[in-house]
């Protein structure tokens, strides 16, 4: 069985149905891309998977590693190994990046199998943090800046991937990580994701444009339109989309 199994997922916000029955499976070691035009439900899918409280799941199921994900709080999902790189990361003034990362890591290490807290040592944290900064070509002065406060769009996106590197998830959802990135930043961020990708990580890239898929090569591509996955295929589907547009790749609608 795949690690993440989504079946017949329907979700709404403020009484408006956005996801109208999604089926999708992602396993560790795989890279999936979900592509869709504006308003197709891409961000809703990533929010629902992470447990955003504003969305209500009305039907279907989602399991991750055999656990019913829909019964879990967002923080429990994170500690189970899920990660969402936000399209619009939020600022937390007064909290430094390093202090935030340390607390987030410690939250993951808390209540392990033996129930004991196991905070990360300063040395281990320092080493890990330095490696992540280097990988994403981020200046170390970032560590003492306040979380996303006054960050440029590119800095925010790099920090999202840096957090992913630090938290070592088993399933990472990248929600339009390419938006707002220039080509150089996109390369660096993509290389970061590629470095982290491997047999222990499943990746779900959610994107409007094919561009990021030149750098993060998906094994599977799914086209999301109007809350449903209308086509799935291999990497070639992304190229087809690039040429024909969403209207071109979508199956003929019944009249």
């Amino acid at each position: 069985m795949a690690d993440l199994v989504i079946e017949g997922l329907r979700a709404e916000i403020d009484g408006k149905e956005i996801l109208k029955g999604i089926d999708l499976e992602v396993s560790k070691g795989e890279v999936h891309a979900v592509m869709g035009p504006n308003g197709s439900g891409k961000s809703t899918l990533s929010y629902v998977l992470m447990g955003h409280p504003a969305y209500e799941v009305t039907a279907g199921s989602v399991t991750f590693k055999g656990v019913d994900l829909l019964e879990l709080e967002p923080d429990e999902r994170s500690r189970l190994g899920m990660f969402l790189a936000f399209q619009y990361p939020h600022a937390v003034p007064g909290v430094t990046v390093s202090s935030f990362l340390r607390q987030a890591i410690n939250a993951h290490r808390k209540g392990g199998p033996d129930g004991a807290d196991n905070p990360i040592s300063a040395k281990e944290f320092g080493n890990k943090f330095r490696a992540a900064l280097e990988m994403l070509e981020v200046d170390k002065s970032l560590s003492s800046r306040y979380l996303n406060d006054g960050f440029s769009g590119g800095e925010k996106k790099r920090l999202e991937i840096l957090q992913m590197a630090m938290l070592e998830p088993e399933l990472a959802i990248l929600d339009e990580t390419d938006s707002g990135l220039d080509i150089d930043a996109l390369k660096i961020v993509s290389q970061g994701v590629n470095t982290l990708a491997g047999p222990e990580l499943g990746v779900l890239v959610i994107t409007h444009y094919q561009r990021i898929l030149n750098y993060i090569r998906p094994d599977h591509v799914h086209i999301l339109m109007d809350g449903r996955i209308v086509r799935s295929g291999g990497p070639e589907l992304a190229l087809e989309l690039e040429q024909s547009g969403y209207a071109g790749v979508a199956p003929q609608q019944e009249v």
Partner: protein
């Protein structure tokens, strides 16, 4: 989905424990002239102090209760004990402090802090200071750090020169009450040019039920001298109310600097009604760093009178109002002379139906040309049951001034919380992180140990706050 079980918020107050009461001497419940005489007689005071107390008592009886600020109608002045002496002596060594009292201060971490990072410690239990210390080298330099009762006996002239000159008993109802029944507190004198590098700390503990604690602090910082004084306070949680009503007067002479830091963490049954005021002379600096986390109702507005040119006053305050709490806190600055400057930074947080108010008065007298002041008040409201108010009074009698005022009110956003929770932080941890960030401009001004303590207290306040 199964219905969620509502969590009962017990406030997570860590210092609510109490010890058996074993007073050496205790006045009867309630207050009259005889009780005032009894306190004075028990302390062997000079006649002038008894006269001062009696006059203040008459003033207290004459003055009406304030009708602004918080609800004071729950205070039953007749059920309060105004004086309780817990031990025979003010010890110079913790070994001489009776066990149950020493245990209390051990649990509060005072002897340990003293060893690590303090230049001197005073520990008040009920009405009296039961332990006092000051590093030998500071004593040799002429620094005086005593409890106020001892100072009256040992340094009567210096004491009398400054006593009640900044806050007379007629100032307000609670200043009058304190003046009538005061006991304990700290007396500090720093001679010209002496800089006390490590903080001096006083800790105020109420243990008995229905207790009134009325300490009185007087700090004199002489020319070019510096001191950082820190006070902390806690009390057991009782179903009946206690009253803490202190008066703090500070004189900062030419070129001197005084920083006064409070980490107030009373239990939720304590009325905390305190008058604090400093006078800063030429080029002197007075800084109040005021953290108010506990109590049922706090009314406290640390004041600085900038009396001579070049004086600078600063008030940094944090107020955290949780369930059943009202923090009515703020600042008062009076610019009396040219080229005086001031900054007020106030951060308030309310949650669980708590109410936090900022009440500030900024006054610039005619002739205080070139006065500069900046007031920033930020409020953070954590849920829809809680409340925040701002009452900024500004009274400018001079044209050539530069005054700035900013106020913001914000709520913890669902999106911000979701972002942090998606990284593995529980709702309480995420909220505490947002709050800690919000107050960071103030905690960064605290010595590391106190910043850690402040963040820990905020964390405790946040725990159990979400169901």
């Amino acid at each position: 989905m199964a219905p969620e079980t509502a969590q009962v918020d017990i406030g997570e107050y860590k210092y609510g424990f109490s010890s058996p009461e074993t007073p050496i001497f205790k006045t009867r419940a309630g207050l009259d002239e005889d009780v005032v005489r009894e306190i004075s007689a028990h302390k062997n005071e000079p006649q002038w102090m008894l006269d001062f107390r009696l006059k203040a008592y008459a003033t207290f009886r004459r003055k009406p209760m304030p009708t602004w600020g918080g609800d004071l109608s729950g205070i039953d002045f007749e059920s309060i004990f105004y004086y309780l002496k817990p031990t025979e002596e003010n010890a110079r060594s913790w070994d001489d402090v009776p066990d149950d009292i020493k245990n209390t201060f051990d649990r509060l971490g005072i002897p340990e802090a003293e060893k690590k990072y303090l230049a001197g410690v005073g520990a008040q239990y009920e009405s009296e200071v039961i332990y006092h210390s000051l590093q030998k080298d500071l004593e040799d330099k002429g620094v005086i750090f005593l409890d106020t009762d001892q100072a009256l006996h040992k340094h009567e002239d210096l004491f009398r020169e400054h006593w009640a000159t900044i806050i007379p008993p007629t100032d307000n109802t609670f200043a009058a009450l304190n003046s009538a029944v005061w006991s304990g507190g700290s007396f500090i004198y720093v001679p010209p040019g002496v800089k006390v590098e490590l903080p001096l700390q006083a800790y105020f503990r109420i243990n008995a039920q229905n207790m009134g604690q009325f300490e009185r602090t007087l700090i004199i910082v002489d020319e070019g001298a510096y001191v950082h004084y820190v006070e902390g306070c806690t009390a057991p949680t009782y179903s009946s109310d206690s009253l803490h009503s202190a008066v703090v007067e500070i004189v900062v002479k030419k070129g001197g600097r005084c920083r006064y830091t409070t980490i107030q963490n009373w239990s939720n049954n304590v009325y905390n009604l305190v008058t604090k005021r400093a006078v800063a002379y030429q080029d002197a600096t007075m800084e109040w760093v005021d953290g108010n986390l506990g109590s049922k109702l706090t009314m406290k507005y640390p004041a600085v009178i900038l009396k001579e040119p070049g004086a600078h006053g600063e008030v940094l305050s944090i107020a955290f109002a949780g369930e059943g709490q009202h923090q009515d806190a703020g600042a008062k600055i009076t610019h009396m002379a040219p080229n005086t400057t001031s900054v007020i930074t106030s951060k308030s947080i309310s949650r669980g139906g708590g109410r936090a108010s900022y009440r500030g008065l900024l006054r610039v007298n005619p002739g205080a040309k070139g006065a500069k002041s900046k007031v920033v008040c930020d409020a953070l409201i954590l849920d829809e049951h809680s409340r925040s108010d701002t009452y900024p009074y500004i009274n400018i009698g001079e044209n050539e001034v530069d005054i700035g005022h900013e106020a913001t009110v914000s709520k913890i956003g669902e999106e911000q919380l979701f972002y942090l929770r998606s990284r593995g932080l529980s709702e309480a941890e995420a909220s505490a992180m947002i709050v800690a960030g919000f107050v960071e401009p103030i905690t960064k001004e605290l010595p590391l140990e106190y910043a850690v303590e402040m963040n820990r207290l905020i964390q405790l306040q946040m725990e159990g706050s979400v169901g």
